[in-house]
């Protein structure tokens, strides 16, 4: 069979014009599919940045919360109730809110303020400059040193600013795994200072972060929290809820879906049509092969192999092109929200397989239908 496949390969690649057209079709389709879905994945990663950066295993929240920025403050008794639940090793309050910072030059900049539990500082980021204990100092804030830092005038340790007429001092610089979706700088401080500096409603706690005693305890904690009338979600579940929100309630998901389908159709039309023409051009030769003694399985294998080679090459080129573009974009725009995930790759691979299968199905039908007797008539 290897010799037959070698013949199929040579027939394919030696027809350079068509092979190039086939490759371009699939490469372009893969590029578009991965580009679009990786942009979505990048945005979702940023939308869930607070959740993933905090690293809490279980988050307790109001049932109506559907993204991390839209928290609904919880009454204090929820924290007490959660702490008393069986299976909870410890639970801490967590604050997440928005504020306007007045910078040294008099300009204002929207910021996200994260308030960490004063006692444990649970969910604190890794510091690249400064000491974590300085967060307890007067007006101490830790600034996340990400691509948004410039929006705060590239502060250094000791830089001062104002939040709601309160003085703030940068006491540390932190790094986080992901930055936020909306391009807003993030400041960390203690929960008590966050509540003091930022106007809030009757209740002040955004979330309760829970460390379960074991993974097995999580279902029991969820059940107990549900009895209280709140939701307890694991980190993954919370990220999924945020993704679902953006996917289905903002129109973003539908746009991505439409773009992905269009990419698929473009790839299918170019590749399907070219592959069909390629097969039609060689149809009488396939008929001659059939007359000579090639069996149906061998002819089908030749076509599937040709489709497979083109799909694999186009898939690889498409990924390469997309990775190159994202890398170039990130050189110019560090906060460019695009990340290639295994999910994106799997989706594009599945769609390429479908393109190859549909293209080769049409060709296979044509080749299997041709009667060797027809060869004598041409």
């Amino acid at each position: 069979m290897r010799g037959i496949l070698k013949i199929a390969y040579k027939l394919l690649v030696n027809d350079r014009g068509k092979f190039t057209a086939l490759l371009m079709g699939i490469t372009f389709a893969v590029f578009l599919m991965i580009q679009v879905t990786s942009m979505f994945a990048g945005m979702m990663m940023k939308a869930s940045a607070t959740v993933s950066n905090t690293g809490a295993r279980v988050w307790v929240m109001d049932r109506a919360v559907n993204n991390v920025a839209g928290s609904i403050p919880l009454p204090d008794y929820v924290l007490d109730a959660v702490r008393s639940m069986p299976g909870v090793r410890y639970a801490v309050p967590f604050f997440s809110g928005g504020a306007l910072a007045r910078l040294h030059d008099g300009t204002y900049q929207a910021v996200t303020v994260i308030g960490l539990d004063d006692t444990s500082l649970y969910g604190r980021p890794s510091l690249v400059q400064g000491r974590i204990e300085d967060i307890y100092g007067e007006n101490g804030f830790i600034v996340v040193a990400d691509e948004e830092l410039a929006k705060l005038g590239n502060p250094k340790i000791g830089t001062e600013f104002e939040i709601n007429d309160h003085r703030g001092v940068v006491v540390g610089m932190a790094k986080v795994a992901a930055s936020g979706l909306f391009g807003i700088p993030t400041l960390y401080t203690t929960l008590s200072r966050a509540i003091q500096y930022i106007p809030s409603m009757r209740y002040t706690m955004s979330y309760v972060l829970v460390e379960p005693a074991s993974a097995a305890a999580i279902p029991r904690i969820k059940e107990a929290v549900a009895h209280l009338g709140y939701d307890a979600l694991t980190e993954r579940e919370f990220i999924d809820r945020i993704t679902v929100f953006y996917k289905y309630r903002t129109g973003m998901g539908m746009n991505i879906l439409i773009m992905t389908i269009i990419s698929f159709i473009v790839g299918l039309s170019i590749s399907g049509q070219t592959f069909y023409t390629f097969t039609l051009e060689n149809l009488d030769r396939f008929g001659a092969l059939k007359a000579i003694g090639a069996k149906r399985l061998e002819l089908v294998s030749m076509i599937l192999f040709q489709a497979g080679v083109t799909a694999a090459a186009g898939y690889g080129l498409g990924i390469g092109l997309c990775a190159l573009l994202i890398a170039l974009a990130k050189l110019r725009m560090p906060d460019y929200a695009s990340v290639i995930t295994f999910g994106n790759l799997g989706l594009a691979f599945g769609m390429v397989l479908v393109i190859a299968a549909i293209s080769s199905y049409i060709a296979v039908r044509k080749v299997l239908k041709i009667e060797p007797f027809e060869i004598f008539r041409t």
Binding site: M1, R2, G3, I4, K6, I7, K10, L11, N14, D15, N282, D284, R285, G287, A288, L289, K290, A291, I292, G293, A294, K295, R296, E298, E371, P372, F373, I375, F376, R377, T378
Partner: protein, 233 residues
Amino acid sequence: MSEDAIRAQGLSKWFGDGAARKCAVSDVTLSASFGEMLYIVGPSGSGKTTLLSMISGILRPDQGSVVVEGIDVWKLDDDRIADFRLRTVGFVFQDFHLFPRLSTVENVAIPLILRRRAWDEAIGEARRVLDVVGLAGHADLPPGKLSGGEQQRVAIARAIVSAPDMLIFDEPTASLDGDTGRKIVEFVKREVLTEHRSVLIVTHDSRIFEYADRIVKMEDGRIVDIEKGAHRA
């Protein structure tokens, strides 16, 4: 010449349905021997290509049988018939049907590759056969770079490379000028036809009749005459 290599008995074939149903070959009985060059001639539509297709295992007859070297061809299943064609029959098509994207030697090696011979071995054997047909120097060129006569010889090389016992030529001179056509048939007679092989040629080119051992004349799907050719021993 020796005993019957091919025996076709009572072959009939109809095409179409209902009022359009037409008999292409009607109750034809024919045999050919090893070492024989048999021509099937007749006007267009006389059924000669249909008859050749049934004999070579390409077109299933509606009636009758074809026995080649003791094997009743049309009692085999599809895969075995394909195997029969691969191992027993060599085809030279009117338009050659060579793959333009393969080199000449790769075109010739195809039957060996279909017989699962290793690539290098098949290419080596194909080069040897190209030498026999006088095209050793053209082995690595694509067929499109060759003249019509040379392409015909490539097609012959492809047909004989796996040493089949039966060679089928469909209008071998139709695409060639008279002189080249005659040279090709002379070559076949001299180099390709052996005492272990039958050559069946469908043609209506009377200029090459002189090379036939026997000439079967067909009209309206029936054999109307069988003549001994000039080369009949």
